[in-house]
């Protein structure tokens, strides 16, 4: 473990994650065993006579909480009744589609957020004038804003990316302001004694000092951008992404609940992927700084 250096921490996290997942699956089935619907069929064979749980809790029945093996099995079954494609293949395609929009949204949102932070740090006047509006922008529910965005920009993947960017920029701005103003005032006095311009100070002092804060915000924004991309697919009516898949399988829920669960799992995995990439980038960029873990 020690030889792996800083990656031993990552390995331990992954092992812990998988362990919790297994425990969760066991708890899931245990709950259904005790208070769910009668069990007739498992992947390991027929249960004869069927197991009838001693209690009944409606939330644990087969429609609300399908069996773990049903959800896992759904990935390899056809996506819809006559589809030649397996659900797994369809969901992966949808994840790539949504992921691309989320990536663009993340990029735009992060850049815009950083720009806003830089402006606010250098102009007290603009900060005081605009920060209330920035905060207000985030309190408006995105469900209400997304259709308006579609009216202005049109349907298509650009509006999806914009919705994603909308949810991304705010943490970056807030963390950016904090980070850009974090250097020791004496460091700024030193730069003043070198007669450095504000742009030199920004590039050589403020921005490097802000990086740890920006990475923290980027982790929040990473998952927010995925949520934005998924949510943005509904008002734009765009097809091919996870948002549409969620909407469709929602209407089919009573006949095939495991498909919606499978979709949710894939959406969560996409968010985790984004987060992991940001974390990896952070480990590389901040490797020389010597402070803290995780």
């Amino acid at each position: 473990m020690v030889r792996l250096g800083r990656f031993s921490g990552v390995l331990r996290s992954i092992v812990a994650f998988v362990a919790i997942l297994v425990l969760l699956a066991i708890a899931w089935e245990a709950a259904k065993w005790v208070a769910g619907d009668p069990v007739r069929q498992t992947p390991w064979g027929v249960v004869d006579p069927p197991h009838v749980p001693p209690f009944t809790i409606k939330q644990l029945n087969d429609t609300n909480l399908p069996h773990v093996w049903e959800v896992v099995g759904a990935f390899v079954q056809p996506a819809t009744r006559n589809s030649p494609f397996s659900l797994g293949a369809v969901l992966i395609d949808a994840a790539v589609f949504t992921g691309r929009n989320a990536l663009v949204g993340f990029g735009i949102g992060a850049l815009f957020g950083l720009l806003l932070a830089i402006i606010f740090v250098h102009s007290r006047l603009l900060e005081r004038a605009l920060v209330p509006y920035v905060i207000a922008s985030q309190t408006v529910p995105i469900i209400a804003l997304a259709p308006m965005l579609v009216l202005w920009v049109g349907t298509g993947w650009t509006s999806v990316a914009l919705v994603s960017a909308y949810l991304t920029f705010f943490p970056v701005t807030i963390a950016g302001i904090r980070g850009l103003t974090s250097p020791d005032p004496r460091a700024l006095e030193l730069m003043s004694s070198y007669a450095a311009s504000w742009s030199t100070v920004l590039w050589k002092v403020r921005f490097p000092a802000a990086l740890p804060y920006l990475f923290t915000a980027a982790k929040i924004s990473a998952t927010a951008s995925v949520v934005g991309a998924i949510v943005g697919e509904e008002p734009t009516g765009i097809r091919g992404g996870l948002g549409r898949a969620i909407l469709e399988f929602n209407t089919q829920y009573t006949t095939g609940p495991q498909k919606l669960w499978a979709t949710v799992i894939v959406a969560a995995a996409l968010g985790i992927l984004f987060f992991a990439v940001v974390r990896l980038a952070e480990m590389v960029v901040l490797r020389d700084r010597g402070a803290g873990e995780l």
Binding site: A187, E189, S193, K204, V205, P208, L211, D288, R289, G290
Partner: protein, 188 residues
């Protein structure tokens, strides 16, 4: 001690500094007049809070005096700062964690647009002067307080300023290191 030079490098004439906070005004400095000749080593001594840091920062054009005239190197303080006539060392080393010691010492030269080759050679000289040549590739947090402060001095001297302003540079160090650093400084 050289005889008094006709052109002082620092000339303060009746400098005053008042701070106002919440209606109350504190007179930090009042009626300060001072001449320092080139090559002199001047120490400002006084109890803490008596205005030494303020005076230093006024000389360095980091604070404006409420009244009085400040001339450094024959020019108003602002011009002296713009011309990079002086270097500063603070009580804390104030090095940048994301840069190596070498890169930290190079910083003023980078800002002043010195070529990379010249920066390299100058940095090597300075690190040799403060006896940190083996630690150029390290990062500040890997060094002790005394070594960091030596790096800060190397950085202050990197661009050969005519004037070196130091604000309690050894205040944060322990007694033994402080003794040693005082001797080192006189040597430099």
């Amino acid at each position: 001690m050289p005889p008094s030079h006709p052109d002082p490098i620092v000339n303060l004439d009746n400098v005053e500094k008042r701070f106002s906070a919440g209606g109350a005004t504190t007179a930090a400095l009042s009626g300060i007049s001072l001449n320092i000749s080139p090559g002199e080593f001047v120490s400002l001594i006084g109890p803490s809070g008596c205005g030494k840091s303020t005076l230093l920062r006024i000389i360095g054009d980091l604070i404006e005096p409420t009244a009085g005239r400040v001339e450094v190197n024959g020019k108003p303080a602002r011009n002296a700062r713009r011309d990079r006539d002086y270097g500063m060392v603070f009580q804390a080393p104030v090095l940048f964690d994301w840069r190596t010691i070498e890169a930290n010492v190079e910083l003023p030269l980078e800002v002043m647009g010195v070529s990379q080759a010249q920066r390299r050679s100058r940095t090597e000289q300075m690190l040799a002067l403060v006896e940190l040549s083996d630690f150029g590739r390290h990062h500040p947090w890997q060094l002790s307080g005394g070594m960091q402060q030596r790096a800060a001095i190397a950085r202050a001297l990197a661009f050969e300023p005519k004037l070196l302003l130091m604000d309690e540079p050894f205040g944060a160090l322990d007694e033994m290191t402080r003794e040693r650093m005082n001797d080192e400084l006189l040597r430099i």
